[in-house]
Amino acid sequence: MKAYDIVIIGGGPAGLAAAISAKKSGTDSILILERDRELGGILNQCIHNGFGLHTFKEELTGPEYAGRFIEQVKELGIEYKLNTMVMDISPQKIVTAMNREEGLFEIQAKAVVLAMGCRERSRGALNIPGYRPAGIFSAGTAQRLVNIEGYMPGREVVILGSGDIGLIMARRMTFEGAKVKVVAELMPYSGGLKRNIVQCLDDYGIPLKLSHTVVDIKGKERLEGVTLAQVDSHGKPIPGTEEEYSCDTLLLSVGLIPENEISRGMGVDMNPVTSGPKVNESLETSIEGVFACGNVLHVHDLVDFVSEEAGTAGRNAAEYVKRGEERKADAKEIRINPIEGVRYTVPGTINVDRMDENLTVRFRVGGVYTNCYISAYFDDERVIHKKRPVVAPGEMEEIKLTKEQLLNYPDLQTITVKIEEA
């Protein structure tokens, strides 16, 4: 059986950044396994610009952003295999993978970085009633057809869900000659970035209907139309508010789900809120030496943050390979407790001895709050109290902690993160 120090599952933005960081941290034996025919992951179909503002201080397209990391991977001589599907990973870190050339093969890893990304929620997950004709696509599938294959999924489009991919596709479909009639969003606020609403809908006069959903789908062969209705505060359609839209295409941008079938198969503990693994300050899962980063861990808005997070995971994987068992010694951990508006945090626990000088704790809120504070309590003492004009579920939030700060609280048990009214 072949052996590598670090095997990275997925060659998208998270996997690439993790590999580069691990290599720069001194591990030479690294292998990236990628299921698609190219490195870069979903960025390859994100041909719009706006990537890299944080990382490179310039606006790149998705393929350009990925390209910078792919170049580094090649320059650093990091090994990778394309068109290779990981079938499963044992708790002992034996990776079973398959491709056309090598068939089914096993690799023994010392450390594993999970970077499989996420998938889109489908129509079925929403249980939208009606017929099941052709012409219903998840926004990402349509994006692949248009941006990679050059095929239009239809001419008259309704979009359900205002996630970022849906907003981006509203603009793309318009560019490519389709008529986007409306974007409907179940929630009273958009799930996407504010800048995308302005640049992808407002600039093209595409209406956004908040608190609306699709209640019926018509057309036996190809989609012929959908019925939208307003919903009440519980998300239930309000009778009498139905409106018919004729369309041949319905795009769904209704949420992303981390793809953790392999993680579950290994026995990694999962966080039911994020659908990603539970991780500590090193982004290490409940299985020692198994790290997670990017959208497989929790769904991000900005790839820049994915790269940063993956850098941390890669560095810690390299550290694990170097020091392995030594790290076990001190198991004392500070728990981070998300409450009152904060849905989860990544990481969920901190081992102060192991943490870097700076630690970014990322999270999402459960609703829209204006003129509020993001607060962190170290046990009972409020230590962070950050004023925010508005926070919303569509934009990831963060607090920053330092090792120095935490060392001042040797008995600290719990850091509570919450939203407080002004």
Partner: protein
């Protein structure tokens, strides 16, 4: 001139075709859709019923029990998935116990083997997630679950291999009696035949009524279903029925033979014979009533919902036999539940009728077995490695949710009566049937379809007809 034309390539038509293909007889199956298994046969509970439901002495009861007995061997001969996991009819109220006992008695009268009544403790031990209110259940170990698509496909493929012709996208428009049989008018020409078998599902009344003064009436009775991810597939291990009420068997909860969890069906009478649209009320009813018998169903794991139409004849009985006032016209009508279970026995019965009428002789070269699409997951590691070495396409995963390889998809497309559409590939291989519902694999499967069938991407459909998936190149309409 054909000896027999079978209208409909659903499970009844395919079973009849397969049974007939044992004999020296020129048979043709005519199907209005692009593929076999496109109507009632594709959207149902996929249950092999034990046989205690149907009225004692009815044809339904007889063919159900016979079909159940045939299924295991048939699944081996024709290589389709079948699992005898057993069923339970759950009784929630002490006062309904007489109904449960009545069901037991009927099962015994119908010849169902191994039936027994479980008390609360036995029930709980076998199915920990059963409702806490359950007080007893009728347990039928002979019930099972199958893949309805591959059962239908397997019988059709085997019939084809034994010489039966199939015409797809061919809709029967008229039936005219001629001297020695029938003239079958279609959108693809006129065909003559000595006998017609009417296996047209929800349309069986239309064809029957074309030729007979004794009218029958079929109501499409819609059943809505929710399908849950494989992560929920172990929630119950057996088929869990509610005690039957006025409208059929109530909402069942069952693992599928592929490891998902299925909830449904409703029973809603509709007018439209193509009215397979789910409704909010229907889906809500499925969820509400499924929860009455089984607790803690992980509804967040729903990956799709769908509905099917039962061909409910007013008399609620299978109508099988030559129509009295239409010589040479054999009905196979009113085939609703337990129609799927009964299909092998229905095929046998219709073939027997025709055998006697035509004095058919058995073929010497009848091939009784058929090999399904190779599923590499069933191979040992060594065999799988050898397979990929010989055929690298078996090393290329196309559907990541169901782990379906390119090799399987190519097989599905290129074998006789192969898949022509995404749904055709899906029913044969499960590509696109998993948790992402074809989000990732459909562009790849489209490419493979276009390549193997030598057609343009614009000709690839979801399910034939006008269900095209892509409409233009980028900027064509600018």
């Amino acid at each position: 001139m054909y000896d027999v034309i079978i209208i409909g390539a659903g499970v009844s038509g395919a079973a009849t075709a397969r049974e007939l293909s044992r004999y020296n007889v020129k048979t043709c199956v005519i199907e209005k859709e692009e593929d076999v298994c496109c109507g009632t046969s594709k959207a149902n509970s996929a249950i092999v019923h034990a046989g205690y439901d149907a009225a004692e002495g009815s044809l339904m009861a007889k063919l159900n029990v016979r079909g159940n007995q045939m299924m295991e061997q048939l699944s081996k001969d024709l290589d389709f998935p079948f699992k005898k996991n057993g069923s339970m009819v759950v009784c929630l109220h002490e006062e309904d116990m007489p109904k449960l006992h009545a069901l037991y008695d009927r099962g015994i009268a119908n010849g169902v083997k191994e039936l027994r009544i479980l008390n609360r403790e036995e029930l709980k031990e076998m199915e920990p997630n059963i409702s806490d209110e359950a007080c007893a259940a009728l347990y039928a170990p002979t019930a099972g679950i199958i893949c309805p698509f591959n059962m239908n496909i397997a019988m059709a493929e085997n019939a084809y291999a034994n010489g039966v012709e199939f015409k797809f996208d061919t809709e029967v428009t008229d039936l005219k009696p001629i001297d020695e049989g029938w003239e079958v008018h279609t959108n693809n020409g006129v065909f003559q035949t000595r006998y017609v078998v009417n296996a047209a599902g929800v349309y069986a009344d239309k064809f029957h009524n074309m030729v007979s003064e004794k009218k029958i009436h079929i109501t499409p009775r819609r059943g809505d279903y929710c399908l849950l991810d494989k992560s929920a597939g172990n929630h119950v291990s057996k088929i869990i029925f509610a005690l039957p009420g006025k409208y059929g068997k109530g909402i069942l909860v069952t693992p599928t033979v592929h490891g998902n969890l299925l909830l449904g069906p409703t029973a809603i009478d509709v007018e439209d014979k193509e009215g397979t649209n789910t409704t909010r009320e229907g889906l809500d009813q499925v969820i509400e009533r499924a929860g009455m018998n089984v607790k803690d169903i992980p509804l967040r794991q729903v990956i799709t919902s769908f509905s099917g139409l039962r061909a409910h004849e007013d008399g609620h009985e299978f109508i099988i036999g030559e129509v009295e006032d239409a010589k040479g016209f054999i009905d196979c009508a009113g085939i609703e539940s337990p129609g799927l279970t009964s299909a092998p026995a229905i095929g046998e019965m219709v073939a027997q009728i025709l055998k006697e009428k035509m004095n058919l002789e058995e073929k010497e070269d009848f091939v009784a077995t058929r090999k399904g699409i190779l599923n590499p997951n069933t191979l040992s590691k060594e065999d799988r490695i050898a397979l990929i070495k010989e055929k690298p396409e078996y090393g290329n995963i196309i559907c990541r949710c169901e782990m379906v390889t390119e090799g399987e998809i190519i097989d599905a497309i290129t074998r006789p009566l192969g898949a022509k559409s995404l749904d055709g590939v899906k029913r044969r291989t499960r590509a696109g049937m998993g948790r992402c519902q074809a989000g990732f694999c459909s562009p790849k499967t489209m490419e493979i379809l276009a390549r193997e069938r030598h057609v343009s991407m614009f000709d690839i459909t979801k399910s034939g007809g006008d269900s095209r998936i892509v409409t233009d190149h980028n900027k064509d309409s600018l």
